[in-house]
Every structure is written in C-alpha cells, then in structure tokens.
C-alpha cells in the first residue's frame, strides 16, 4: 500500500507545485496594481479582448455555509444576494470537495463525465495518491474553452494552487496565485480580490471565474470551530466581504454593472470535528488478512475513497468485507458505490462518508489533524445566487434545487451558448 503523495489538497500533505505550461506560448503582462499582480495571457487565444458588452463573474466563496451570509458580518455579500435570484435550497454534489465542485461548475457535467470525482484519488496507473491538479485530469470541455471558441474572452482568478493547476491555461487570461501561504497552498483573499480587479481593469474578460480561498482555509484550521465560535473563520468572512464590496464598487463605478451577471456560489460548506472524533479506516481494514496490503484509502476530509488493489477475482469478496468493516467503525455514516454517486471509475470501489462532527484521517489517525473538514453530506448546503445589474437578473427567491453543476448551463445560456456534446447534467437557473 503506497501513500506517496505528489501535490497538495485541502489539509493534504504538501509537495512542490508543478504547473505544466501546456502547448500555449504565454505572455506575461507583468505587474499590475500595487500588489504586484501577475497575469498571464495566452497569445494564441482567438479573443484577447471581450466580445460585446455582456460580462459574467462566477464568484466561488470556497467553503461558505449559506447562513454565514446572514451572520451580519457580510453586508456586501448579503446585499448582492438579496438583489438577485437566491436559491436557498442549493447543494454541492459529491464528493463535497473543492476540485470536483469547481470542475462541475465549469463543465456542467458530473464527475463520471468530467473525470474529477475528488480532490485526492489513488492513481492506479502511477500507483500514488495524488491531487487531480493536472490540466489533463479534466476530461470534458469547460465553459471557458467553449466560450473561447465562440470568440469570448475568459479569465480565471483561482486562489488555490491545485485549482490553478487543473484549469491550467484554458482561460484567455489567468492569475497565478501569489503570494502562497505555505501548507494551505492558497493566496489570501486580499490578493485574490486585487487580482480580480486587476484582471477586470487590464483585460475585462467576458467571463471571470474567481475563487476566494480564505473562508475555506481559515475554516480548516479554526480550532474554535467544534464549539461553534469560529473565531478565525469569522475574520475571514469579514475580509472576504470587503473584497466583494470592492469588486461590486468597481463594476458600478466603471459602468460595467448594468451589463453584468454575478453568480455567487460555494463548492461545499464546512463542518468541524473534535480531536476525538476521527475515523481512520486503514487500521481496521488492514486487520483483515484478506484485505491487508491490497487496498488503498484516499482521504478527502469527510469522505474516504477505498480502492481494491488485489486480484480482480477477489474484488467482490473484498468489497463486501470493506463495506462491513467500514460500517462498523464509529462515526461512519454510509458506504456507497461510486457509480450511484456518478463519480466514475477514478473514485475507486467504495466511498465512505462520515457523520456530522467527524472526519477521516488516513492512513494514520494523526494524518489529518485539522478540525474543519468537508466532503461528507453534512457539508452539502451552499449559497447560490444570481445577481448583477444585467436585465436578465430578477430579484426573487426560488425553492428549486440548484447545484454546482448548474453554473455552466446558467452562464452558457447568458452568453447564448448551446449545450455541449451529450448535454449538460445541470440546468440553467436564469
């Protein structure tokens, strides 16, 4: 059983971030603004400038719990949400992790079609546990690429390194997150916000896909989370709200607001566990001689992916044993087959979810020390709203279920794009 790990994830072990440049020649435009923002632009992209007046901004508020917008700490975000169409029944989709839900947003299809079911998988070919942070890991045309082909310009402002990695050089304009906080692997919101505003000033793309990471990262390490104080988290919320406020001010002061659609969403919410509410499946699975040495566990916070690596002919028996053992471990909520969750083959053979207030820690019980986690069903609820000054935006609240997979259909419909080959799995919420 190998636990070599070659990049970083949410609370995952860190490794040097390597971003493949891909086939495009990049033109670095240098410093923009006081923060030394570095934006890259692919010079062979059909559209360097925006096409038409329409603008769409997808703001991912990584890890946000819907009720936090009503906490009183986020007046700008609340005003933005309440000024548009709000979907209080919105949910993220399994696995409730950053990479799969960002990818679902930009593809409009589930992981069995886009190839990204989790943050961390066991790569059977390479025999390593790794983040799905390579551009080629994403196996379905993104909204970004489809817009590019239609002559629209696009931009990505993604605060986490692995997000920057998987979306690669797809966008016309990109911000390489910096400065990166060690271990967390993300750039603070103040820099992400600067980059967003700089990208709008410098390039003004039709679509900007931006992901703010502080809310998630401060939540992960917030030791006061299990007792609901969430001190660190709340400071992150305040700072994020300031960034949102400056972004909206920019749109309004530059006349862009009337042509803009702003879609606010999270990729998952957050749950906190105490130090004694930790599940480590590796020891009990290893205790079964039939399984020992012939399985892998990819830990994704509140979800573990189990892979049988033994002989194919023993797989059925192995899964039966793994399921039975996992179910009997305190804190385990459910064991599911990846097919039922539309996760595809990369998600392994079984998915194990934990209960609210618990977390997984594999291979060792001390492997995952962070109190804040997601990945399990308790972290499904997310904020989701469509706001902005464009006439298509209506001020209302809807009880239909919206999900992360609805983002691409919604933004695609805004720009008049047709459906991709095979159709979307999501629905336009306009």
């Amino acid at each position: 059983m190998s636990h070599e790990h070659c990049s970083r994830g949410s609370g995952d072990a860190a490794a040097p971030f390597a971003r493949p440049l891909g086939r495009r020649q990049l033109l670095q435009l240098g410093a923009a603004g006081t923060a030394g923002i570095v934006l890259s632009t692919a010079i062979d992209t059909p559209a360097l400038a925006a096409k038409g007046k329409k603008r769409a901004y997808v703001l991912v508020l990584d890890g946000m719990i819907p009720s936090e917008i009503d906490s009183g700490l986020m007046p700008n975000l609340k005003a933005l949400r309440d000024g548009g169409t709000h979907f209080p029944r919105a949910r993220a989709l399994p696995i409730l992790e950053t990479l799969p839900n960002h990818v679902m947003m930009m593809t409009g299809v589930r992981p069995n079609r886009n190839g990204v079911p989790a943050n961390v998988i066991y790569d059977r070919k390479e025999k390593v546990h790794r983040d799905l942070d390579r551009p080629e890991d994403l196996r379905y045309p993104t909204l970004i690429e489809r817009m590019n082909r239609r002559g629209f310009s696009t931009g990505t402002v993604l605060s986490k390194e692995y997000l920057y990695g998987i979306f690669g050089d797809r966008a016309t304009h990109r911000w390489e997150p910096a400065p990166i906080i060690p271990v967390s692997g993300h750039a603070p919101d103040v820099f992400t916000g600067d980059a967003l505003r700089s990208m709008i000033t410098e390039h003004d793309p039709n679509l900007v896909f931006v992901s703010f990471g502080d809310c998630d990262r401060m939540g992960h390490v917030d030791l006061t989370g299990p007792v609901s104080l969430k001190v660190l988290r709340q400071t992150a919320l305040v700072q994020l709200d300031q960034q949102v406020g400056m972004f909206i001010d920019q749109l309004k002061s530059t006349g862009r607001w009337e042509n803009s659609l702003v879609l606010g969403i999270a990729d998952h919410s957050m749950d906190w566990s105490r130090p004694d509410r930790v599940i480590s499946l590796t020891p009990p699975l290893s205790a079964d001689p039939f399984l020992a040495g012939k399985f892998e566990v990819s830990q994704n916070g509140g979800a573990d992916l189990l892979y049988w690596t033994g002989p194919r002919g023993q797989r059925d028996e192995a899964l039966k044993r793994m399921r039975r053992i996992a179910r009997n471990v305190p804190g385990v909520l459910a064991v599911r087959r990846p097919g039922v969750l539309r996760l595809g083959a990369r998600a392994g053979d079984l998915v194990v979810f934990c209960k609210a207030g618990w977390r997984f820690s594999d291979p060792e019980v001390h492997s995952n020390p962070i109190p804040g986690n997601h990945g399990h069903p308790a972290t499904r609820p997310i904020p989701f709203f469509i706001s902005g000054g464009h006439p298509v935006v209506r001020r209302r609240t809807r009880s239909v279920r919206a999900t992360t997979v609805d983002v691409a259909p919604t933004v695609g419909a805004f720009f008049g794009l047709g459906t991709p080959r095979g159709g979307y799995d999501g629905t336009s919420r306009l």
């Binding site: 069903p377 308790a378 972290t379 609240t397 809807r398």
Partner: protein, 571 residues
C-alpha cells in the same frame, strides 16, 4: 395590537351569493352556505361538507347524509342510499369537471368519502353533494401545486386541541373568514372523549356546551355520535367548507395519554383497549376527510402517517405518535421534572420503527425546500437542566439513573422518548438537511423554539430545525390549572423554562386561538392569533406574536408583524 385577520372580501361573498340566487332563485352558494332550502339541508346534510389531503390532481371530499329521521349518527339505522357528488370550477356549477355517485348506509354511519380525481394542480374548486334532488352546502377546496412547480407562497392554518365543552370554536370562525389559506393543518385532539363536565372550561370546570353522548366515548356508537356533534358546530362546518384539512390525531380522538397498548384514561372495566381503539379509528375514518390506509376508502387501513407535497416549496409529513409508541414512563405531575432514566432507553419509541424509517426516507429525499412535520406532541427538549451530552452521556452510561437529555417536565412528548429524537436529529445533521420545521399541537400553549442537537451546549451547538407550537382552540391551559388570571402567575414559569432552556424563544402558556404559517422560499413565519374569550360565541381575535425561520438558518426570530397577504384578489 389590533385585529388584523384578513377577511374574505365583500366582493367575494357578494359574488357567491348573487350568483347562486340568480341561478336558482333560492340558492346562495358561497362556500359553506346553504345550497338548498333550509329544511332540506337540515334534513339531509346536517353535518356539513369537508375536503382534505389535497394532492395536485385529487382531493378527498366528505359529507354525511341523513336519509331519514331514524338514521341518526351512531344509530346503525337507516337505508342504504346513493349520493351524487360534483366538482366544478365555478360556484354556480356551470363548469362541472368531475362527478360521481357514492353508496353509503348504516354500516359506515351514512358518511360519504371519496377521492375526487382528474383535477388540475394548484386550482380552486367548488364541490357539493346531491341527494333526492337537494344539494348539500357548497364547499370550496384547492388542489396542491404540481410537484415540479415552484409556488412563491403557501399559507396554512395550524390548530389543535378543540374541546367543545370548554368553549366555542371562534378560532375556526375567524379562520373561515380568511381568504388566503391553502389548507388547515389540524394536529390532533380534534375532539375529546370525556363525558359531561369531566374536562370543561377553566378551574371550575364550567361546561360551555355539553358533550353528546353525555358519557365518555367507548362504543363505536359513542365515537360516531361525538364526531357528529362536533361536525354540527357552525364554526367548524364553515371552516371545513372553505378550506381542505390535513389532519392527524393525538390521544383524545381515542382517549387520554394513549400509547400502543393502553392509555391513562382507559380502565380495565372498559374492555379491551385495542378493541376500543379500533372503534375510535373506524369512526375517525368515517367522519374525517383524510386518506387512512393511503386511500379514501373507509375501513381499508389505519395508517395515518403520510406526506403531502406542495411543489418544490414544501412537503408536509403528518405523524402518528400514538399508535406505535411505548408506554409513557411513570408520570409525575406537570411541570415537575421527571428523572426517570427510561426516557432515554433506546428500546422505547414514540414513532415505531416503520414510521421512523418512512420519515427519514421522506426527509432524506429532500424534495422540497421546507420540510414541514405535522407533529402531534412537542419535540423541543424542555428539561431541567439541559446538560451537554459530553457530561451526561458517560454519567448515565455508568449509573443508568438519569435520562440522558435531562429531566423533562412532560414525558408524554418526545422528551420521554429521547433515543428517537436523537436518531432523528442526527439524521438531519448528518445529511445536511436544512429547513425542517416541526408544527406541533397537544400542549395548549404557544411556543417557538430552535432545535439544538445538544440542548445543554446551546447556542454553541448546531441546530437542525425549528419548532412552532400552536395553542389550543379551547382546551384548558396553565392559567386554568392554577386558577390565575391570564398573564400573571404563568409568566414566572414561562421565564423559568426559557431561562433553563435557552433554545425556547417564545412561550405563551395562557392564551387560546390559532396560528397561521406563511411559507415562502425566503422564510416561514408562524403568526399566533389569540381569541378574547372561549365562552363568548362572538369572541374577537388579535395577532399576538409572530416568529420566522429564515431559510438555511435553523433558528427562529421574532417578526414585527403578521405576514402580509400576497394572494391575488380572486383567492
């Protein structure tokens, strides 16, 4: 505070009246109004009309026909007859969209109940019954919105505990005058089993209206007669005729403090409890506009727990918390805390296994934004004192001497069956299920509460929903037991409970009335209306308080005024 009950518009009433008069020269056909000569109505349709359990394409319709003088309720006499029913889009029945014939007779106490099918979702309909050329009063009903539709608003009356001997049903009268309700949710104790003067109004037990029969309900005839008496109340008739009901029972539809195999108010000399319960259920099936056993057919089953969906906005799951529950612990007088350790015994249940599985399945499907639970008895922990589970669980596991969730003041509600409550609350938390609101009756008082997973750690613990409890229509409450003027001695007890149980945000132990739940995608709001006096047939009503649950918060907060009417004038 002023009387802010929205009334039917003058125009609406006039329309119905004038249209009917024009059609027949004698008919006045507003909902609940006479649709034939008065003597015909009194002769054939003495118990009014009702509808219930609205679904998108069907609704239960109900009446009782009295074909001759001998066919009195519970008599077992009278001929088998046919009754015609009609459903129309208009009050004048020019656009009849469904009709049929139902046979009835003494075996079912001459009650008529059917599922009118083939209707359109989210639509108002009028209905009536015809017998020997005479029409019943005209009822109005409304189907539920289509499953995939997203209504902007729903509004439900929420009522419970209507004891005829304890007063007039002024709450029903005021609700019948509203023009904005999708349904009435009746959470049980629709009628009471007691004989004359045993449980009437106030400390001195004044009988405002005597029960019929004068003795406690025991036989099938007793239960039928009591149902019939309640159905002759003009206020209840008016409300039934105007709005579909969604009902469940609590204990008094059978007898006080019922559980699976007995009841506090069932004595050995009263025969078999289960036989008595079968009779009570039979009469309920005959006399209530409800699908028991999943159908409107009488006698094909007694399963009452069921769910009704209203588009993507709300699903109402109605519970039966009497049929399957374990026996209550040894009761101590309310409100003395009851330290019986059996309250947290995992082998005891209030729902029964099948109902718990069904409820969890409904909630897990998460088909609508709001998950409304029609919950006959309170689920909010009300204990003395609530302690964090991290403290009490190991202590109780070791000693087995105390209930895990603290000593409740009323073990007849979920506080006496805390293993089931923990199972349900954990389920909601583990699945990330939001916007669950329990609508509750039973306790003759009005409450608004957050539902913490760990009450002892509140507010530093997650909450999984909220609970809104309506007060009684007429049944006695704390001021009556203490023989105190309203809002005097009760205030100290309310303060004590709310101080010890910080998740209880609103409590009124003294008032009587009804509640109205307004549902939008943004929030639910429960408005509490209070009547002036139970023994005044012309009692007035006022808005007393309102508590809202904003979407995604699982917390109640006070509202500054009653929910505003968003209905179109035509409703």
């Amino acid at each position: 505070m002023t009387d802010q009950t929205p009334l039917a518009t003058r125009r609406t009433v006039l329309q119905g009246t004038l249209a009917g008069a024009a059609a027949t020269g004698t008919l006045a056909v507003g909902p609940g109004m006479v649709a034939g000569p008065a003597e015909a109505r009194s002769r054939f349709f003495r118990h009014g009309v009702a509808s219930g359990d609205p679904r998108p394409r069907r609704v239960v319709l109900w009446t009782r026909v009295t074909p001759n003088a001998a066919a009195t309720p519970g008599s077992g006499k009278g001929p088998r007859v046919k009754v015609v029913w009609q459903v129309a889009r208009d009050a004048r029945f020019r656009k009849v969209v469904a009709r049929g014939t139902v046979r009835t007779g003494p075996k079912r106490d001459h009650t008529v109940k059917l599922d009118a099918r083939g209707l359109r979702p989210g639509t108002d309909y009028y209905y009536r019954f015809l017998f020997r050329g005479q029409s019943s009063p005209v009822g109005r009903t409304r189907t539920a919105p289509a499953p995939g539709s997203s209504p902007d608003n729903l509004r439900f009356a929420v009522v419970s505990c209507s004891n005829l001997e304890a007063g007039f049903f002024s709450s029903y009268r005021h609700l019948a005058r509203r023009n904005d309700l999708d349904a009435v949710i009746h959470l049980g104790d629709y009628l009471y089993e007691y004989g004359n003067g045993y449980y009437a109004m106030g400390f001195n037990n004044e009988v405002v209206r005597p029960h019929d029969p004068p003795t406690e309900m025991l036989s099938l005839s007793d239960y039928r007669r009591r149902h019939a008496q309640y159905k002759t109340d003009p206020d209840l008739q008016a409300l039934h005729a105007r709005v579909p009901f969604i009902v469940t029972w609590d204990d008094h539809e059978i007898t006080n403090d019922a559980w699976a195999e007995g009841a506090e108010n069932h004595q050995p000399d009263e025969g078999s409890f289960l036989a008595r319960r079968r009779r009570a259920y039979r009469a309920y099936d005959e006399w209530m506009p409800v699908r028991m056993g999943r159908t409107a057919k009488v006698g094909d089953g007694t399963r009452l727990f069921r769910s009704l969906r209203f588009g993507t906005l709300a699903e109402i799951s109605m519970l039966d918390l009497r049929t399957y529950r374990s026996q209550q612990s040894d009761m101590v007088p309310m409100p003395v805390p009851n330290p019986d350790a059996s309250h947290s015994d995992p082998d005891r249940t209030i729902t029964g296994d099948a109902q718990m599985r069904w409820l969890k399945n409904i909630l897990g499907l998460d088909r609508t934004q709001w998950k409304l639970i029609g919950n006959p008895v309170m689920i909010t922990p009300v204990v003395f004192p609530p302690l964090p589970t991290e403290i009490t669980d190991p202590l109780v596991d070791m000693t087995g001497l105390l209930p895990k969730d603290g000593a409740p003041y009323n073990a007849d509600q979920w506080d006496g069956y805390t293993a089931d409550r923990r199972e349900l609350f954990s389920f909601l938390a583990d699945r990330g299920i939001r916007d669950t609101v329990f609508l509750t009756g039973d306790i003759h008082s009005a409450w608004a509460c957050d539902l913490p997973v760990d009450a002892g750690a509140y507010p530093l613990t997650r909450t999984v929903g909220t609970e809104m409890v309506c007060t009684s229509v007429t049944s006695n409450n704390l001021k009556d037991y203490s023989d105190s003027p309203p809002r005097t001695s009760s205030l100290a007890i309310e303060a004590g409970i709310m101080t010890m149980n910080r998740h209880v945000k609103y409590l009124d132990f003294d008032s009587h009335g009804y509640s109205v739940l307004d549902v939008t995608p943004e929030r639910t709001q429960m408005d509490y209306y209070v009547i002036s006096a139970r023994d005044d047939r012309a009692a007035t009503v006022r808005w007393s308080a309102g508590y809202a649950t904003k979407a995604g918060t699982q917390r109640v907060r006070p509202a500054s005024g009653p929910a505003t009417t968003r209905r179109k004038a035509s409703r």
